[in-house]
């Protein structure tokens, strides 16, 4: 949502002259770029537990972050007050990066970005990708409570084994104003609504739990009957299998990744290694692979900030760069890293709009948005049928990757054995481990069912950022499955 410029200037009690004055202060020691990031965020939550919405609250976070760049080096400070004295003090602290003790990077003072696109993107900066029809901040709590009550009732009625339901409705609305030393002024309002449901089931003395979530950049209008029905259905879906699931025998075997949420593996095991800061510092396994073939020609990987209402959508990133769709791997060839302004200057390319930050307290760094693999040709059933003995997984949690080595481990919440081309016994509580580049190179079949998962995915990289992920059904030739 984008209001008038005056709304944001008034909110932060600044004038355009103030912004220019702060720029001068920030660059007084010779910094070659500076930006200001004003933020006013209201986070609210309501919690249903033991059948009642008896807990709730909100949090207000307000301030301005001031960044000064000298080459690739960063000075950063922030103020929780936007009075002139406080902001000038923060500007002076950030400006110190450019004093005599910090030598400039190899790029020097050139600020203008080179325009040598190395990817096929569809920049669309003019679109408002998250119009908020009803603002969370002005919605009465009494209007939100029935949605949580409905989830509780629906889930409890659907399955007699349900013993506990916890449902949380969270919203975040952020007013932003950004200004930089190029004279670019950007402002907007970003909504984010999330619902998380956790259910505990009990059967014959055994306990199982299941969680489901949905999140969108939207206002209160996202709380539809259809969403409630979907959450209820998913919360109890396949719980029989969960009770019957076992750990399979471990070992190396083919792994079929189900469409949608399996995309978290793409995010963790490959996506982070495409972030330009890790490559700039020589830490990524892909540091020297730009323009080279890294996987099968059937594979195209995209990081996309342009999906309307998506949790990772951005009209522009936190450096004021228009949100974009960035093709990272095209037909198996590594075509672009994800860039913020610093890495784009280093690599002498255009920024890709991936400069993101958790809040005004953090300097922006390259981060993913919605990262997904595009669909291929194979039918999902055909992919499963091609496996004589292996494992099918469709829900992961707690993945981790070592950026340098590329090694990853993912915890499988649910899946099935594949025996003679058919899904058979359910499995749970196992890990799959492998190496990101090797796994990418080992993808043999790509399904025609690409799906983006709308769960509450949050990426942690020193600071959190809402993202989403997706993948079609894919077959990986061989991964290690940790079982009995």
């Amino acid at each position: 949502m984008i209001n008038d410029k005056s709304y944001y200037l008034d909110l932060f009690s600044v004038t355009e002259n103030d912004l220019q004055s702060l720029m001068q202060e920030s660059l007084r020691h010779g910094g070659d770029f500076a930006d200001l990031y004003f933020e006013d965020t209201t986070c609210s939550d309501l919690l249903l537990m033991d059948g009642e919405v008896s807990s709730g609250g909100f949090n207000i976070d307000y301030g301005v972050g001031i960044r000064v760049l000298k080459g690739e080096k960063t000075g950063y400070a922030y103020s929780e007050s936007t009075d002139r004295t406080s902001m000038r003090a923060a500007a002076r602290a950030a400006a110190l990066i450019a004093d005599g003790n910090a030598s400039a990077g190899r790029v020097g003072a050139a600020v203008e970005e080179a325009s040598r696109p190395r990817y096929k993107g569809r920049p669309n900066p003019a679109a408002d990708r998250y119009p908020m029809l009803q603002d969370w901040r002005t919605c009465e709590t009494a209007r939100l409570v029935p949605f949580l009550d409905r989830l509780h009732q629906g889930i409890s009625e659907r399955d007699k084994r349900v013993v506990k339901v916890i449902a949380m409705l969270s919203s975040q609305v952020t007013d932003l104003l950004m200004y930089n030393s190029l004279g670019e002024l950007k402002y907007e309002t970003r909504p984010l609504g999330s619902i998380s449901v956790s259910v505990v089931f009990q059967q014959d003395g055994k306990i199982e739990n299941k969680s489901v979530s949905r999140s969108f950049r939207a206002g209160v209008e996202m709380l539809t009957d259809a969403l409630a029905d979907e959450l209820v259905a998913k919360a109890v879906d396949r719980i029989d299998d969960r009770f019957g699931a076992r750990r399979p025998k471990g070992g190396k075997m083919p792994v079929v990744m189900g469409a949608g949420a399996s995309g978290i593996l793409l995010h963790e095991a490959m996506g982070h290694a495409f972030e330009a800061d890790f490559n700039r510092k020589g830490q990524s396994i892909f540091s020297d692979k730009m323009g080279r073939k890294i996987c099968d020609s059937s594979i195209t990987v995209v990081d996309d900030g342009t999906i309307r209402g998506n949790r990772g959508a951005l009209n522009f990133d936190d450096e004021g760069v228009p949100g974009q769709r960035t093709v990272l791997v095209e037909d198996g060839v590594l075509t672009s890293y994800m860039h913020d302004r610093i890495s784009a200057r280093y690599y002498d390319v255009k920024t890709t709009g991936n400069g993101r930050r958790e809040s005004f307290r953090y300097n922006p760094i390259p981060r993913m948005r919605a990262t997904y693999m595009e669909g291929g040709q194979a039918a999902p059933e055909e992919i499963i049928a091609s496996v004589k003995k292996g494992i099918y997984v469709d829900q992961f949690s707690n993945g981790q990757v070592k950026i340098g080595e590329g090694d990853f481990t993912f915890y499988v919440q649910s899946g099935y054995l594949i025996e003679s081309g058919r899904l058979t016994a359910p499995v749970k509580d196992i890990n799959i481990i492998g190496n990101g580049p090797e796994a990418l190179a080992d993808i043999q079949l790509v399904g025609n069912d690409p799906l983006i998962d709308d769960g509450t995915w949050t990426c942690g990289k020193g600071q959190s950022a809402p993202v989403s992920c997706g993948i079609p059904t894919v077959l990986i030739k061989k991964l290690t499955v940790g079982g009995e």
């Binding site: 949090n59 976070d61 110190l96 003790n101 709590t141 707690n398 340098g404 990853f408 481990t409």
Partner: protein, 450 residues
């Protein structure tokens, strides 16, 4: 010596004023917590300054108990006019929630009476007041080893480090007369190095140190240690699946202790989402396991005189010779579950030595003879309800008490109750900078997949 003050007198007075305003607006009980911190960071990349950051944070959290209902709210805007609107809205939201008879402030008898100046735990280093931007830069730059150390088989291709110092103060008050303060300084240095071998393989390792007192910060040991750890990882081999001893290095051993502490928390127990249901005063672990909560150890970062409700902490046994002695129960959960309240969480848990004092990693490897030494966990998870776990690991194979080679692509799988029933040893080598004092641990009969 005068007491250090990060929160100004005006800010503390405004905190109390906020409480009075909330009571005047219709709240029957109120708890307010003001926090303030200042943090300075100098980041280096490959021996050069890469980032300088200066942060000042304030927050005011308010818990409102209104007409049998409860809401919690926070803001970082400290002006009185803003607080007026903030409280109006908070009370309005709280009134829309369902009544909950179990929400209450803690019994005043249980609250801390001895956290008056905030310095009682000796966690404030007045040298902090002499820190300057130049001194911070010098500390960060002098600690770097980039360009000064390479090996025959490897090159140091990246060294990314951060020196940080900070001061933090919290002031907690409630409408029953509670007043508590805590202030502490922190000095930290952490470094991640990436080595490349002759084949282009990369190996990254991290090492850090942290302490409330600058004089205790072993900053110059961090880069050498991180490099040594990365060098140890060269030439990894894929190991076969094996059923053997597992020794977990103290740096990562809290991975198998934290799930126990979570399972003993009343929120997990009340939601039936715990593998330690109905375990209080029962022996569910082997006699060799004793975990104490050393919550009031002076000079140790993480020690606290009070929890977030203002309840007084006390040194206590969480698990004593295998018997569960404590659930973590706040005032709310005590009411819901009909049990006695304790503290809301473990403050500074410490796993005690077994079978004897003084064991370090090397002695424990000798004790076990053969097995897998785990020095890092890479992903994986545990099931809170069943206690089943599966974690990716990195580390080393060892034989005859000596490390033979580094390993990768391995997973350890089991259940916590079964794992702990095979406890062999608990060392006495936890570093004080760790939030949880978990030493090197050893278990027998553990399943590793590869």
């Amino acid at each position: 010596m005068t007491s250090p003050e990060l929160l100004t007198r005006e800010e503390r007075e405004l905190t109390l004023k906020c409480m009075e305003m909330a009571l005047a607006k219709g709240a029957q009980k109120v708890r307010v917590t003001a926090s303030k911190s200042v943090m300075d960071l100098v980041g280096t990349l490959n021996g050069e300054i890469d980032k300088v950051t200066h942060c000042l944070d304030r927050s005011l959290s308010v818990c409102l108990f209104v007409d049998g209902r409860f809401g919690s709210f926070a803001t970082n805007r400290f002006d009185e006019e803003g607080l007026d609107a903030f409280l109006d809205r908070g009370i309005s939201v709280t009134r829309m929630l369902a009544p909950d008879p179990f929400r209450d402030l803690p019994d005043p008898e249980r609250t801390a009476k001895d956290a008056l100046t905030g310095t009682e735990l000796n966690l404030y280093d007045d040298y902090y007041e002499r820190m300057t931007p130049e001194l911070r830069r010098r500390l960060a730059l002098d600690a770097s080893l980039f360009g000064k150390r390479n090996g025959e088989e490897w090159t140091l291709i990246s060294e990314e480090a951060e020196y940080t110092d900070s001061v933090f103060e919290t002031f907690l008050a409630d409408s029953q007369g509670l007043r508590c303060r805590h202030i502490e300084t922190s000095f930290e240095y952490g470094v991640e190095v990436t080595l490349e071998d002759k084949k282009g393989n990369k190996y990254s390792k991290y090492w850090w140190d942290g302490t409330p007192m600058l004089k205790d910060l072993d900053i110059n040991a961090c880069c050498p240690k991180a490099i040594d750890l990365a060098v140890e990882m060269l030439h990894p081999k894929r190991h076969r699946s094996v059923h053997t001893h597992m020794v977990i290095d103290t740096e990562v051993a809290s991975k198998v202790v934290s799930p126990i502490l979570r399972a003993l928390n009343a929120y997990s127990l009340q939601q039936n989402n715990s593998f330690l249901l109905d375990s209080l005063d029962k022996q569910v672990f082997p006699e060799g396991l004793t975990i104490l909560d050393c919550s009031r150890n002076a000079g140790e970062s993480g020690s606290r005189y009070f929890d977030s409700e203002g309840v007084a902490t006390r040194p206590t046994a969480i698990i004593e010779k295998g018997t569960v002695r404590q659930y973590f129960v706040n005032t709310y959960m005590a009411g819901k579950m009909g049990i006695a309240p304790t503290v809301e969480d473990a403050i500074r848990p410490k796993v005690m030595p077994f079978p004897r004092h003084g064991l370090g990693r090397d002695e424990i490897l000798s004790l076990c003879g053969e097995g897998i030494l785990v020095t890092g966990f890479n992903g994986g998870n545990s099931n809170a309800a069943t206690g089943n776990f599966s974690y990716g690991i990195e580390g080393f194979a060892f034989k005859d008490g000596r490390i033979t080679h580094s390993i990768r692509d391995m997973v350890v799988t089991g259940s916590f109750l079964d794992l702990w029933s095979h406890l062999v040893a608990c060392g006495e080598d936890a570093r004080l900078c760790q939030a949880r004092l978990v030493p090197t641990l050893a278990f027998s009969d553990v399943d590793f997949s590869a």
